[in-house]
Amino acid sequence: MSRILSSALFIVIVAALACVPFVADSYGVTLGIGMLGYVTLATAWALFSGPTRYVSLATVAFFGIGAYTVAVFSETIPYPLLLVTAGAIGLAVALVVGLSTLRLAGVYFVIFTFGLAELVRQLVTWYEVNVTGTLGRYIFLPVTPEGIYWQLLGLAAITFLISWWIGRSRIGLALKVIGDDEIVAAHCGIDIARVKLALFAISSVIITLVGAIQAPRWTYVEPTIAFNPTISFLTLIMALLGGAHRLTGPLLGAVPLFLLFEWLSANFPNHYSIILGLIFIAIVFILPRGVLAFAEENWRRWRKTEIKNLPAVAE
């Protein structure tokens, strides 16, 4: 029953969001694109990093790969194939990174992903300067903001469905065991490296697609714009605030924080990253497992004290 109810709710929400471009003005659509982008990024990030506890700092590496692929091939490849190409390149990079680092302790993975965006940025810059001789590209694609909005909404919905499906499948169960104790998981016959690699690949492809879909918004792209480390940072904060272990956690983190960041970058453009860092530290200290888990714990504790107090009242 609750399953039918929640899927009905899901469809109603997606349908309602799909109607937004008909009523909102252009600023509203822009805001919607940014918000949907970050909701998708945070959910895709949590898809891999939530259950495995491998903190990936490489979000922008894949995001940038997607955006840059669109910029490079926008004149030679038709649009739908462009997204496929971007996804394929993202998948290839994810497999190389995953195969070489996911077998090792988590901290190596974190360090590698920490520098991955910088590495990709420098390689792209080097290639552009030495081989093609131009730094910076223009994107002229016949894609309207509404079109981008709907594509992102579709991607967000698919990401949610994948995340929901994984939570209920064999691979999801395997992931939960890996997250709790890798040694136990290995003894249960779970192929740890393969499960992690599959998840990392799915998550990275989604992130690459977000970059590819959003790319036409920029018109002009160069490596410093496409590989802006703030994107990795924001995604991480949002997923952590909401709680990376739950389906709706990243969503609950992304929406309020995106609005807050919009407001901050409009009002305090110079002190933006200081405030960002302080918020992040506060989240790590106060809500280490996310706002949802925090609320649930306190709700349960509050209920418990209620129940404890009841007999005392009766006496």
């Binding site: 903190v55 360090i111 390689l123 992040f280 530290i281 790590v284």
Partner: protein, 290 residues
């Protein structure tokens, strides 16, 4: 050409080794993976720049201010930010993740403060930029001084850690933090000292770097990355390992920049990192873990 590349590689490698020693102390003894380490280096470089350009203080005198300041900053950061995380952590892995996240936030705070104060421009100053001839090649005097300073600091730290009781206690914590209290070592105090010492070394590295390189407020990430690679190559907590790995990294970078392409140095660094990870995950000089 070859000797010139070799010499400037040694200068760069010496600096990397100096910087990585601080990080290996912080990670090996305090068990804190400090992603804001490069920002501490850059902050010290800016401090040296300010002291040089406004007070006319030369960088050697600047070290006397920057190193204690870095030590104090490390001490405070550990006391305020890290020790609650250490107390909360259930095991080594969860402390690693918590410390990575907290210092990732710290990275943006320090970087933001530097951006507001100094802007995003390249900053450098000219100190001892006189030619010196060594083995038939001409090198700037400030680079030679940088190498000498790296050797003095690195050697001093090595002697401190291997020849004194105090240093032995720190190394004991690095080897086995659970058994160290059994022989009367205060692990919490050792961790705090090691973290502060790492901060001091970061500051020393920053001042040394500022003597011969241009820095921007956002270049800390690359230094953190290189220091981390050196630490992992050398084996976590291993000073001699960090020293050798730092020199190797500096030499490789200079050779790639001289003979291949300056734009590919970071890619070369990464290739080494990956090769080490796949071939010897415990580091070139590390013991096999577990």
């Amino acid at each position: 050409m070859l000797v010139a590349a070799l010499l400037s590689g040694l200068v760069l490698g010496g600096t990397y080794a100096l910087v990585a020693m601080g990080l290996t102390l912080q990670y090996g003894i305090s068990r804190i993976m400090n992603l804001a380490y490069g920002e501490m280096i850059i902050a010290a470089a800016f401090l040296a720049y300010v002291m040089f350009s406004t007070l006319g203080l030369n960088p050697i005198a600047g070290l006397l201010i920057a190193v204690p300041a870095g030590f104090a900053l490390g001490y405070i950061v550990y006391g305020v930010m890290m020790s609650p995380l250490v107390r909360r952590a259930r095991d080594k892995a969860s402390l690693e993740i918590d410390s990575i996240l907290a210092t990732f936030g710290l990275l943006f705070v320090i970087q933001g403060i530097m951006l507001v104060t100094f802007g995003a421009n390249f900053t450098s100053y000219s100190y001892l930029n006189d030619p010196v001839t060594i083995f038939g090649t001409v090198l700037a005097a400030n680079r030679v001084l940088a190498l000498v300073l790296a050797v003095v600091f690195g050697g001093g730290l090595y002697l401190l850690l291997t020849r004194t009781l105090w240093g032995t206690a720190l190394r004991a914590v690095a080897v086995n933090p659970a058994a160290a209290p059994l022989v009367g070592i205060d692990v919490d105090r050792a961790a705090r000292l090691a973290f502060a010492l790492g901060g001091g070394l970061a500051a020393a590295g920053g001042v040394v770097i500022s003597m011969y390189q241009t820095v921007t407020a956002t270049s800390g990430v690359v230094f953190t990355m290189k220091a981390l690679i050196v630490v992992i190559m050398g084996g976590v907590g291993n000073l001699i390992g960090a020293l050798s790995a730092g020199l190797i990294l500096g030499l490789v970078e200079t050779f790639v920049a001289t003979y291949v392409d300056p734009g590919l140095t970071l890619a070369a660094t990464y290739m080494i990192f990956l090769a080490v990870l796949l071939w010897r995950p415990a580091g070139l000089f590390g013991r096999v873990a577990r």
